[in-house]
């Protein structure tokens, strides 16, 4: 199914007049991974190179290079951090915190969400609380989390859990509530019991909403682990940022910032790969006749 779109958006064949030097990488990539993807891959690389160039020009000629270190200086700062393994240790710590909080938060969010979405009394009972608590971002909860759990791992797990829970919960409730009535009634007259309708029809129908909620929660987890580590940790990428800031090591700050970008991107790609592989059949939203 995914291929259909690619073949439609395929790049037009190389037109006469285009210099062979420009056309050949296109042709090479098209042969290897298909025309549409090859073109967008090249454009992505062009975009990144262009951004790097602008960054270099700005930091060299416009701004104080101490405030915005040029790309090469950041690169040189990264080498010892990579060689010593320091950056990987921080990445591992932060990623573990995100995963533990994200997975537990998603689990509780999904279980509570399907129940609250389905059982009217529970929904009416808990909805006011959810509607109020959802405005307490993980950042707002840092001070109290430190008092409750100290600066150990538990406070970070809790904060990520907190942020994930409400996003996944609210999306799951919405997904369960939006299962088409016709689909539930169709199952009912085919002979499904109430429990079967819930398990075999309502929950699968909610999967696209749950997955969307989890993706948003994943991104927000990477955002909220950083302030948690800045304010209440002695390890992780956030702590690296904090420490480098105190020592006025701007290149190291930039290394940490880029690491966050790359890490978030990679984890999201892994998540999407997993969804495509395992949950693809559940991901079509209600088809329009």
């Amino acid at each position: 199914m995914a291929n259909v779109r690619d073949s439609n958006s395929a790049a037009p064949a190389a037109k006469p007049g285009i210099k062979p030097g420009i056309a050949s990488p296109f042709r090479w990539l098209r042969a290897r991974i298909g025309a549409g993807r090859g073109q967008s891959l090249i454009l992505s690389m062009v975009s990144l190179l262009f951004a790097g160039l602008i960054w270099h020009l700005l930091s060299t000629f416009v701004f104080n290079p101490f405030l915005i270190p040029p790309p090469l200086e950041v690169f040189y700062a990264a080498i010892p951090m990579i060689k010593s393994g320091e950056i990987f240790a921080d990445v591992a710590i932060s990623t573990t915190r995100v995963l533990v909080g994200f997975l537990t938060g998603s689990l509780v969010g999904i279980v509570a969400g399907v129940l609250l979405g389905r059982i009217r009394v529970l929904h009416d009972l808990f909805d006011p609380i959810i509607e109020l608590l959802r405005y307490l971002s993980p950042t707002a909860m840092i001070p109290i989390a430190v008092i409750w759990f100290g600066i150990g791992e538990m406070s970070k797990y809790f904060l990520i859990f907190w942020g994930t829970l409400f996003i996944v919960l609210i999306n799951t409730i919405a997904g369960v509530g939006r299962t088409p009535i016709a689909r539930q009634r169709a199952a009912e007259c085919l002979g499904a019991t109430r429990l079967q309708i819930f398990v075999l029809v309502v929950i699968p129908s909610a999967v696209p909403y749950i997955v969307t909620g989890m993706r948003i929660a994943m991104a927000s987890s990477f955002m909220s682990v950083i302030p948690a580590e800045i304010l209440a940790a002695d390890s992780g990428i956030g702590y690296l940022l904090q420490k480098s800031s105190m020592l006025l090591q701007t290149p190291r700050i930039f290394v940490a910032l880029i690491t966050i970008c790359v890490l978030g991107f990679i984890v999201d790609r892994i998540f999407r790969f997993f969804v495509d592989r395992v949950l693809a059949r559940y991901m079509s939203f209600v088809a329009v006749t």
Binding site: P180, R183, A186, A187, E188, S284, A287, T289
Partner: protein
Amino acid sequence: MLRVTDVRKVFGTAHDTYIALDNVSLDIADGEFLCLLGPSGCGKSTLLNILAGFEPPTSGSVTADGAPVTGAGRDRVMCFQDAGSALFPWLTVEENVRFGLRVRKIPKAGWDSIIDKYLRMVDLDRHRRKFPAQLSGGMRQRLQIARMLAVEPQVLLMDEPFAALDALTRRHMHAVLLEIWQRTGKTIVFVTHDIAEAISLADRIGMMSVGPRSVITKMIDVDMPRPRDLTNPRVAQLFNEIEALLAPDLARAE
């Protein structure tokens, strides 16, 4: 036989009520093809939902073969207008049909031959592994029909099933449905707002008035051989009669 006696349906609260159906009575014989015809908002879908057991009547009674209808029953299955929502999009064509066999605890040994039989009947046996999103509108509606036939109900309740299809596909679906009806002898209650559709399908047409307080205004026997061609003078005359009957209601509905 389905028997509807003095059914009233009132929606809303004590202060803000809407009387959808007002004392509707109707007998539907076994093996009959009955069309309920009326403009939008005449309560025909409400009546169908009551027949299916999805909604209880406010007063009056509905019985199927003498037993009161209190919920969705194994003998009555509904076909919905929007097949996209009614089908299970995460199941393939054959898995959609299998769903009903599974929840009805039909012995596994028989599944394959049942699925095969009904997918062939609606001409979808070459598309078993496809998902509903990969089917055209007409194919989805055929899948919905196969899925409901597979659990072998006595009554098919159809809620404007072909309203969203283009005219050519709709005519094809009429032929498919009539053939299935003639082969299986099911009772069909078919809701539509399309006069031509009602005439080409039904044994009897129940005309319904626009709400509030919808009633069945007239029962028309369509005593003509199928297929019924609209250029046939008798068919055309019936079409005009029905259109004239609906005209005042249409004006009121606007």
